[in-house]
Amino acid sequence: MEKIKVSKGFTPRLAGKPDYSLITLPDPDTIGVSAMDIPFIRPKLLVKENDRVRTGTPLFCDKRDKSIQYVSPGTGMVKKILFGERRRLQEVVITLDKLDEFIQFDPITGSGTGSGPESSLKSGRGHTLNNISKTALIDRLKQGGLWQSLRQFPAKDTADSSHTPAMIIVSLNGNDIFSPHPGLLLEKEKPAFEFGLEILKKFSNRIIVTARQGSLGRLKTINTLISHLVPDSYPAWDPGVVLYHLKKNIKENTSWCIGAEHLVMMAKFLLTGRFPVKKIVTVTKPGDQKPHFLVHQGMPVKAIAGSLPKDSLITTGQFNGRITNKESHLGFFENTLNIINGNENEELFGFIRPGIDKPSVSHTFLSSLFTNPGQVDGTLHGEIRACINCSYCENICPNDLMPNFIMKALHSDEIEDALEYGLLDCCRCGLCSYACPAKIELTQILSSGMDSHYKDKA
């Protein structure tokens, strides 16, 4: 196990860490398939309202590559199709039936074991990972709605199946600081996880498996599979940060990444031939410690979040998720809900208060003398101003970028300069915006700079 040294980043003192127990929630009445957490997608609907769907029925595909499908994680009837601004697809909502029917694919068994299901051996259609071709495997994953678990750098778009990546990074930890603990995700799934790593070896020669230092204690069963350890400071476990610290040449810029829970899903899908419908999620709420929840895919937010205080903000990642609301559903890539106090309160002489309970990167609050979690809320704490070159963003960026200089290059349309300064190494962790005292939306500026460059190139 190698250690990756990430010297920058930030360990915020946040309350609300979920405890290490797992509660199974009952299946909800409706589930939803969200298109909001899918990068760059141009969705094309394949179902209409009131259509009946089974688990595994494709609901929509990506117009850019129609073979990439997004499938229903449950059986029932399409109740509603929701559109957002400019008729962008938001969600397909499905009323769940009591009885689960699913689209069954032929199982693919692990290589070398020789103990594949006998039925498939008899019929002669049975495959093991050794004898299935790479294209057949890709097709199967695309039909099963799981190919999109693989994402390709630098833009983290859905992986291009014709590309052979220099490495594939498997992250055991999710996007948020309090994403589900990999111990819970993987303790019963070691065979599937190992099979998943075998699948990845079909696509790349170099598989990196990373875990947070702090998660290691509960990963005894699988710690032989971990190749790299990262520190506990946010966002060291982000695949973008891992890639930046590992890469040695230009070819590695287009590596792939995948989350451990998606890899397990992929493996289970191939092993059983059925789309896996369960996932583990966490809910964080200041002043409240909640357990991990085992829920149905596409679970409604309100069924997980429970009661909400007034003015709450619900996000799927405090730093790099999206804002969601009680009425929507958890996306394929999302497994955390953060309930943040969003009360816009104007504090008298707020700019000069001692601030014992105000956490800060800077040392301008008395809170920097203590280590207990401070008050966190979802507001800006100030007003936007011009950049004063204070370097707070540079000092916190895990990938050694200088967000202030890149921002200025982008503002003056010097895209070449921005790229030269490492724009595409940005992992969108959100820390530059977090730390900026002038409240400039650096992450958004860098992120949209990256996206527009990526779209131009495509």
């Binding site: 953060n338 011009a386 004063i388 200088m402 300064y421 490492g422 959100g430 977090y434 005292p437």
Partner: protein, 386 residues
């Protein structure tokens, strides 16, 4: 504080949108946000944000200036008393000093804010907090005897030409407070140099009201001896009981402020330490160059540090993040060269005894170049990702 909040809420309609005084919206906004720090909800990631904002950032410089300001007021009264042949007590000195210093500060803030508001109204943007610092730094670099109209003229030049013509705080090339001072220094040398550093009437003969930097030794007399003879012992220079600009005399108070800025990380320690290193190294080099026993070349690092406005400049002026480089290696070089240039100007060019101001302004001009070099070098070290 409900009543105050209600007051703002009641008049908000008049100052915003199509209200009667909508042109004065920046003024209303600045007043309101001074009392009530706005904190709108986040809609863009990340959804939690740090508590530090620019108001607090700039206010911390003012906090760091408190010892300098109080001592400056006290010393103004004290020096003025000495010149009049009396030794005032602490309270008396403070009162007399306040009589000289407070009007200067009030004029500086008043006239400066007039320009700030004017530009904010015309450009329809918010009043930036940067001027809070400029408006306080500028008076502290002036002699207490300065005519108030010159203060008004100086701060106008500093704010308008030094900052607003470039687009306001964050876009200026030069430090506005030093720009203002340089303007007065070159336009009205009579009020800014020579025997003007003590406010009030001088009735006692032999009391010099020049600064330590104007002292040179007689033929064959060493500079340190000459300084002590003129009443500038090292301890007086360090503690600040000497004539000089209001805020610059006490090296001790400047150091207190510098430590505060470095601990809170509002001022970048690289600039301050780099500057002190540059000054020490350069003054030692000059010390060992033969000849010039009677000039400042031979004063050594301690005198160079304690005399004049170097510590004030490096702690409060050079650490202005806008006009300093934005890269860490750039900051070291920037600080070091300020130290180097300060000593060089003091020693080589007796026409400008106070080298700090010119050194900082000169390096301000080169800050973008230093940044450019560092940014390009760092970019060349990255694995390209295009």
């Amino acid at each position: 504080m409900k009543p105050l909040k209600k007051l703002f809420d009641r008049y908000e309609a008049d100052f915003t949108g199509s209200g009667k005084y909508k042109r004065l919206e920046p003024l209303f906004d600045a007043t309101r946000t001074f009392f009530f720090l706005p904190s709108p909800g986040n809609t863009i990631l990340p959804f939690i944000r740090d508590h530090l904002d620019l108001k607090r950032y700039m206010s911390f410089v003012l906090i760091a200036l408190v010892p300098v300001l109080i001592f400056g007021i006290y010393n103004t009264g004290y020096q003025s008393g000495l010149a009049a042949g009396e030794t005032h007590g602490i309270l008396n000195s403070l009162l007399i000093g306040a009589g000289y210093v407070l009007p200067i500060i009030l004029v500086s803030y008043g006239v400066g804010f007039f320009w700030e508001i004017l530009f904010a109204v015309i450009r329809k943007h918010k009043i930036s907090e940067g001027f809070l610092v400029t408006g306080m730094l500028f008076p502290l670099t002036l002699p207490a005897s300065i005519p108030l109209w010159q203060v008004a003229l100086g701060i106008s030049f500093g704010v308008v030409i030094g900052k607003e013509v470039f687009g306001g705080t964050g876009r200026n090339i030069l430090n506005p407070a030093l720009t203002a001072r340089a303007f007065l220094f070159f336009s009205y040398p009579v009020s800014m140099s020579g025997n003007i550093w003590v406010a009030g009437k001088t009735t006692v003969d032999g009391i010099s009201s020049a600064t330590a930097l104007a002292v040179t030794g007689m033929e064959g007399q060493s500079i340190t001896k000459a300084l002590v003879d003129s009443g500038f012992s090292l301890s007086d220079l360090f503690l600040g009981f000497v004539p000089g600009s209001i805020g610059e005399t006490s090296a001790l108070c400047c150091l207190l402020g510098a430590v505060f800025l470095m601990v809170t990380r509002i001022g970048n320690f690289r600039i301050i330490l780099g500057g002190i290193a540059g000054l020490v190294v350069t003054s030692i080099i000059f010390y060992f160059i033969p000849g010039g026993r009677e000039s400042w070349a031979n004063a050594g690092p301690l005198y160079h540090l304690s005399a004049g406005g170097f510590l004030f400049g490096i702690s409060f002026m050079a650490t202005d993040p806008v006009s300093a480089p934005g890269t860490n290696p750039g900051r070291w070089v920037f600080g070091f060269l300020i130290g180097f240039l300060t000593v060089t100007i003091r020693v080589i060019n007796p026409a400008f005894v106070e080298g700090t101001m010119l050194a900082i302004l000169f390096m301000n001009v080169f800050a973008p170049l230093l940044d450019h070099g560092v940014v390009k070098y760092k970019a060349s070290k990255r694995i390209p990702n295009v």
